[in-house]
């Protein structure tokens, strides 16, 4: 098979885009930007020593899909229209699927009917990074687990390695299946794996993650875990919270406040 010139240019353009966004890595950035309000934006890149997210499940309503729609539109996530080939970065699952160990027949209707957002946990000890044979999946110093779509060979070892089902494979060329292409974010090719990137491209521009801003209930709280004064820290201190499959030692960084 030959890669057409057009395709090559697309890839080259996308690579250039990654190159532009990469130098703003918060590597070695000493100053920790706190995020006082969720509508906080600045031209300065948002940096942290460890990004994390808390989800206030009591605020999250089961019929709302605002965060999902916002994320998938911004990141050019394709809709193949069938569960087999499905690509998703953030989506909802019933409580019993998210916390299989914490469900039993006697929990109340509220818990049984609950649907929670799930996404990549940006694990501090990510098994997906460990198993990847090309370092196409890697962890940044600020904790974001990222993908290099130009290096991924599509072996899907990371999909087997992720204990959360957070990763999707492009089983077809995704481009014809994107409702409206966002020119500010690269589209992917067929045959590569993708997942949530904690909106690193937005953080670099001083913007909070799209899902966080999209949530009218402010159920998603994003911030720096290493900053004792951050909102997320005080939330985790005050409210009881769970992490998915914490016993596996992956050290997931999405905290569910229940």
């Amino acid at each position: 098979m030959t890669t057409s010139r057009r395709e090559f240019l697309k890839i080259a353009g996308a690579s250039a885009l990654t190159l532009i966004t990469f130098p703003v890595f918060p590597v070695g950035a000493k100053e920790n930007v706190r995020i006082p309000g969720q509508d906080f934006t600045s031209a300065k890149p948002l940096t942290a020593r460890r990004w994390a997210m808390a989800i206030d499940t009591s605020k999250c309503s089961k019929d709302c899909t605002d965060c999902i729609v916002a994320c998938h539109a911004i990141h050019n996530v394709p809709d193949f229209g069938n569960p087999k080939d499905e690509v998703k970065w953030i989506w909802q699952e019933p409580f019993a699927a998210v916390f299989p160990d914490n469900q039993h027949a006697y929990s109340g209707q509220a818990i049984q009917k609950m649907r929670l957002p799930v996404l990549c946990n940006h694990c501090a000890n990510p098994s997906c990074v460990r198993v990847c044979p090309t370092q196409a999946t890697f962890k940044r110093p600020d904790g974001i687990v990222m993908m290099d779509y130009h290096r991924c060979i599509g072996c899907r070892l990371c999909m087997a390695g992720c204990p959360y089902g957070a990763r999707s494979m492009n089983f077809h060329d995704p481009r014809p299946f994107i409702a409206k292409i966002n020119p500010d974010f690269p589209t992917r090719t067929k045959g590569v794996v993708e997942k949530c990137n904690f909106c690193q491209e937005r953080l670099a521009k001083g913007l909070l993650p799209a899902c966080v801003l999209a949530c009218k209930e402010k159920a998603l709280v994003f911030g720096d875990l290493e900053d004792p004064l951050s909102d997320i820290r005080s939330l985790l201190k005050e409210r009881f919270n769970l992490r998915r499959k914490a016993h596996l030692g992956t050290r997931p960084q999405i905290y569910y406040i229940v």
Partner: protein, 386 residues
């Protein structure tokens, strides 16, 4: 010596052309897969590996089993195997080539395969698997070829081959151990997360490989007049019997831990395999067939009277091969994904194109094997004739 593969009977050529046709059909479907993506297979978001990776896993075992000829001959001076060690090495060569092809067709971006070498990742087991598999391929091509050509010239093999042959013994163990580690080190996949995985892989490999070699020897005896010798075949049969017994034992050990401990995450994949889960029971019939075949084959192989009858032996070897192929080439990989991390049960059905590509690679492997064995036979029969 290579030219010997181009001289053969009518039957030989019919077989070669048949295999070539299957290869070509597979290849044409692979071109389609390249164009459309892996979506033309039955693999899904939940069951993200299927037939390809399963064949790879099974064939690593076949490749490793060459050591069951090498070890007795070179370490224990078991003379009866002297005539056929090269058969084991050539089997390893064709099996490793099939393994590499199965990994290759499974890649979503095959044109980037060199990234594994350009960005070596020693933390990834797949990286090490590539290292040990290519090393093993090289060792077996070199040793098999040198020994056979020295045989032809009736000179002793050069001194440097011996260390290489000794090296091939632990190396064979390593290829299957590393392959088991691909599975056994993943935190969320409880079906694979067991230390018995590598021993189980080795035991089943040392049963299926020798069973296959016995079948090849019996076929050659019938069709070409090359006789591996009764004692060689019988010893191979005993090796297959012991290995099969060990393999069954390891499965039982695993079943005990899983069901006596009663941990649901560990039970569910096994329930899916042998009884079905949430109404999904795709593999149940297969797995029980595999169990029955293994039990029957074990009975035939350990009972000397049965084993010594070559017709019964042949049937038993076919049973061993099919049973272990079902276990590893069908059940092992898919079940690791069931239930999914979000406790969904998604069944996997290989598609037509996927099966065609799989058959194409098997045919390609058999093609290489047939030609290598043809060379082997030409050399051996020449000497027998003299």
């Amino acid at each position: 010596m290579l030219e010997k593969a181009l001289r053969g009977s009518r039957g030989y050529w019919t077989w070669i052309i048949f295999l070539l046709a299957v290869v070509l059909i597979g290849f044409s479907f692979y071109l389609r897969q390249l164009d459309d993506g892996l979506g033309i297979t039955g693999m899904s978001r939940d069951v993200s590996w299927g037939l390809y990776i399963a064949q790879f896993t099974f064939l690593v075992g076949v490749a490793a089993s060459a050591v069951m000829l090498i070890m007795p001959y070179y370490l224990h001076d078991y003379k009866a195997f002297g005539k056929i060690t090269v058969l084991g090495e050539f089997l390893a060569v064709s099996a490793v080539i099939m393994c590499i092809l199965f990994i290759f067709v499974d890649l979503g971006q095959p044109s980037r395969v060199m990234n594994v070498i350009l960005y070596p990742s020693p933390g990834s087991i797949l990286f090490w698997d590539m290292v040990v598999l290519s090393g093993y391929l090289l060792i077996n091509i070199v040793t098999g070829w040198v020994i056979l050509s020295c045989d032809q010239k009736e000179i002793p093999p050069p001194a440097w081959v011996k260390p290489l042959i000794y090296l091939s013994i632990p190396w064979a163990i390593s290829i299957h151990t590393v392959t088991a580690f691909i599975y056994a080190g993943l935190p969320g996949r409880t079906f694979w997360l067991t230390a018995i995985m590598a021993p189980r892989f080795l035991a089943s490999a040392f049963a299926s490989g020798p069973a296959l070699l016995i079948l090849f020897c019996l076929i050659m005896k019938k069709c070409t007049g090359f006789d591996a010798g009764r004692s060689a075949i019988q010893t191979l049969a005993r090796i297959a019997a012991y290995a099969l017994a060990a393999s069954i034992f390891f499965v039982m050990v695993e079943l005990f831990t899983v069901f006596y401990s009663g941990i649901p995450e560990h039970e569910e994949p096994f329930r899916y395999l042998f009884a079905g889960l949430d109404g999904h029971n795709n593999l149940v019939v297969w797995m029980w067939a595999s169990a029955a075949l293994a039990a029957g084959a074990l009975a035939a192989l350990i009972y000397p009277r049965a084993r010594q009858n070559e017709a019964i032996l042949a049937v038993a070897c076919v049973a061993v091969f099919i049973s272990l192929w079902i276990e590893k080439g069908l059940g092992l990989v898919v079940t690791g994904f069931i239930p999914s991390p979000l406790v969904a049960v998604t069944e996997y059905f290989p598609t037509g194109p996927e099966i065609a590509i799989t058959l194409g690679i098997w045919a390609g492997g058999l093609l290489i094997l047939t030609m290598l064995y043809q060379i082997f036979l030409a050399v051996r029969l020449e000497k027998q004739g003299q």
